[in-house]
Structures are given as structure tokens and as C-alpha cells.
């Protein structure tokens, strides 16, 4: 019992007064351990701030990332073309013909462009016309040196499109205004504002996977199926040169 009493005895006051700074250090270390390095890491961050990776590094990284994306895009496009060739989806050999816009009627009763390339350059009615930003319309009629392009906004324009995010087909109908309507076939549209509208991936009449626009608003109560208003991505009023997707040397659909 006596020995136990000795062990439980408090340390002498002198010893405590000598050792209390070390005890404090010990307590600090324990706190450090329990908090997983609070304080030390903050101190390190404060001291090393001048040497942190700067904007230059992030730019290098972003450049590398975009290079990576571009090369992947090219590879995927080549792959896609090869697979489409295997599936015989692509008829003939599509080529792009650049054409200047020589007359522009973007508003009014008719919404059309006249471009300065025509039948002599291989353009035919039905060819897709693209501008920086996406699909612009389709060629309605052709003369030897000009072609009339029916814009997507014209009242008589109707093309099939695809909302990739919701896996929905729709019919893009020109409404005479700057924003065409997207009519769905299914009752349950599920499309939200902000969804990107493209040409159908399986399309043979139009180049597949071409950006058309963005859904601006959805009218769920439209009869017989929901309707959406689409903001086109290609700026019609600012386009001076367009590209026509010409099908050379192949059978036309």
C-alpha cells in the first residue's frame, strides 16, 4: 500500500515549477497532432506564398488542356467519319464551299440570303449552309452563279433537330421572328432552358452534330406537344461569308 501511495503522490512543487514550460510545449504538440497540423500548415502557407504556382503555370496547364481537347476532337472526328463511312451514312464526299453573302433579308416577310456561289460550284438545293457559330439554313434554289438560302427563321423552314442533353428529337420550325420554335414529338419533352440544340447525329440530309442554337424558353402547355423557343447560335446579321456543305461526286439523297 505504501508503494502505491508513493506512485500516486503529486510531484514536488519545485519540479513542477521547473518543468511547466516543457509541459506547455508538450500540450501544444498534442494539440497539433489532434488538429492535424493546424498552425504549422498555415504558417507554411503564409511563408511560402511568394513561391506559390502563379498564373503562368495555370495558363500553361490550360493551354495543354485545350491542346489535348483539340487533338482528341480531331481524333474523334476522324473516327466518327470512318465509322459513318462504314455505316454508309455519308453519301458522296462532302466538301465545304465558301460563299459571300450578296443579299440579306433577315427580317420581313421572307428571311433569306443570296450567296455568290451557285450551281457551277456544285451547290444544289437542300445543301446545308453554315456560318461561324453553327447552322444557318438550307439552300432553297440555285442559279449558275448564285444560290438562295432559306434561313432557319423563315416561316417555311422546317428541319429535324436533336437535343442531346435530353435525348429528344424535335422539329425546328421558323416563326418569321429571330427565334424559331422547337416542336417536340413526344408529349413529355423534359427540355430545359439552356439545352443545346444540334442537328441529329444520324442525319444524312444535314451534316450531323452541328450546333443550331440554345433553348431559350419552354412552353410546357402548348398543344399538342411542348414547344420551345430557340436562340440560334450563328449570328445572321453579322455573317458576310458562309460555308455550304456540298456533296461532290456522290448520289444525292
Amino acid at each position: 500500500m505504501a508503494s502505491q501511495g508513493r506512485w500516486l503522490r503529486l510531484p514536488p512543487r519545485r519540479l513542477v515549477s521547473l518543468a511547466w514550460p516543457w509541459l506547455l510545449v508538450m500540450l501544444l504538440l498534442v494539440g497539433l497532432r489532434l488538429s492535424k497540423g493546424a498552425g504549422v500548415l498555415d504558417l507554411y502557407a503564409l511563408l511560402s506564398r511568394p513561391f506559390w504556382p502563379g498564373s503562368a503555370q495555370s495558363e500553361w496547364l490550360m493551354a495543354a488542356q485545350s491542346l489535348d481537347r483539340q487533338s482528341r476532337l480531331q481524333q474523334l472526328e476522324a473516327d466518327n467519319r470512318r465509322l459513318r463511312g462504314l455505316l454508309d451514312l455519308e453519301r458522296g464526299n462532302p466538301a465545304l464551299v465558301s460563299a459571300p453573302v450578296i443579299s440579306r433579308q433577315a427580317e420581313g416577310w421572307w428571311q433569306q440570303l443570296v450567296i455568290g456561289r451557285g450551281g457551277l460550284q456544285g451547290i444544289a438545293a437542300g445543301d446545308a449552309v453554315m456560318a461561324p457559330g453553327g447552322l444557318l439554313g438550307r439552300v432553297a434554289s440555285v442559279t449558275p452563279t448564285t444560290a438562295t438560302v432559306l434561313l432557319l427563321t423563315d416561316s417555311s423552314s422546317k428541319i429535324g433537330v436533336w437535343v442531346g442533353a435530353r435525348q429528344r428529337h424535335g422539329l425546328l420550325v421558323g416563326a418569321g421572328s429571330q427565334r424559331p420554335l422547337l416542336r417536340f414529338i413526344e408529349q413529355d419533352g423534359g427540355v430545359r432552358p439552356g439545352d443545346v440544340v444540334t442537328t441529329s447525329p444520324a442525319s444524312t440530309l444535314l451534316p450531323p452534330n452541328l450546333t443550331v442554337g440554345v433553348v431559350q424558353s419552354v412552353n410546357e402547355r402548348a398543344v399538342p406537344a411542348p414547344e420551345a423557343v430557340v436562340q440560334l447560335s450563328a449570328p445572321v446579321n453579322a455573317v458576310d461569308w458562309v460555308q455550304v456543305n456540298v456533296q461532290r461526286g456522290g448520289k444525292r439523297p
Partner: protein, 178 residues
Amino acid sequence: MSVLLRQRWTPLTAGLVPLLMLASPAPLQLAGVPPSWAALWLLPWALVDGPFSGVLAGVVLGLLLDALHAGPVSEIPALALLGWWWGRLGRRSSPIERSFSLGLLALLGAALQGVLIWLQQLWWGETNVAALHTLLAQTLITAVLAPALCSLQLLFWRQLAPAVGADPISRMRWTRSR
């Protein structure tokens, strides 16, 4: 009747209409909508040259413009109707030449043209949510331009065919001199 039509070169001026329509000069647009160049040319022509020539000019213009438009909608009915109506008005005893009357006639004509195009679009099942905007803008800009442009043309045509419909005496004199 149809004095202007008998001169070989005068109907060729109708060729300016499709050219102006294609060029669609930006300063002469209202909210992006160009005026009805066909109405602006047809109004003085029909007023001076009578209903028969008016209808003929309307049909010719309609054919020209329909050739340049995609889609099934036609401008021929409206322009033929306007040519006939304005031709009849030109045969009245007091000739229409005040700029205000010209503006009013052009306004009514452009409105009729727009309404007929709109009706045809409805008939063909086409959606046009901007129809009212286009109709109003085109009617207004046509009416604003008509006093200036139509008065000049009217003066020019009257010089070629002096007051044919206005009073019978001058018409007889004109016919005899030929």
C-alpha cells in the same frame, strides 16, 4: 390608255424593284424591315397608266418577286389588285398628286399586301409570330417613303403621258398628236 406601256423602255424601270429588294439598303429600313418597293413603283405607274396597265404591271412585278422568294407564298394577287385599284383611281376627274394622298394610298396598299401575304402564310400552315410587327413596320416605312419617291415618279410619268385620265381634252389632244 396604257400610254406608258406603249413606250418600249418605260416598263424596264420595273426592273429596279427586284434590284432594290435584293440590295435592301439599310438606311431605308424600319426595325430591319424594308419598304414594299413594288408598291412604291406600282402606285405612280398605275395612277398615270390606268387599270389595265396597272394589273399587267402588278402581275409582272409579282412574277419577278416570286421568283426571288423561297416558299409558296405569292405576291401576285395583292399587286394585281393594287394595280387595278390605283389605275381606277387615276382615271378620276381630279388627278391624285398631293403627297399626302400618295402616302395614304401607299399605306393602304402596303397594308393590303402584307395582309394578303399573312393570310397565305396561314393558309399554308406556316407560323409567323412576327407577322404583325412586319406588317406594321413595312406599312409605315412604305407610307413614309411614298410622298418623296412616288411624287417624283408621278411627275416623270406625267411628263411622258400628260394627264391622260384627268381631262378628256388633253387626252384627245395627246391621242391626235400621236
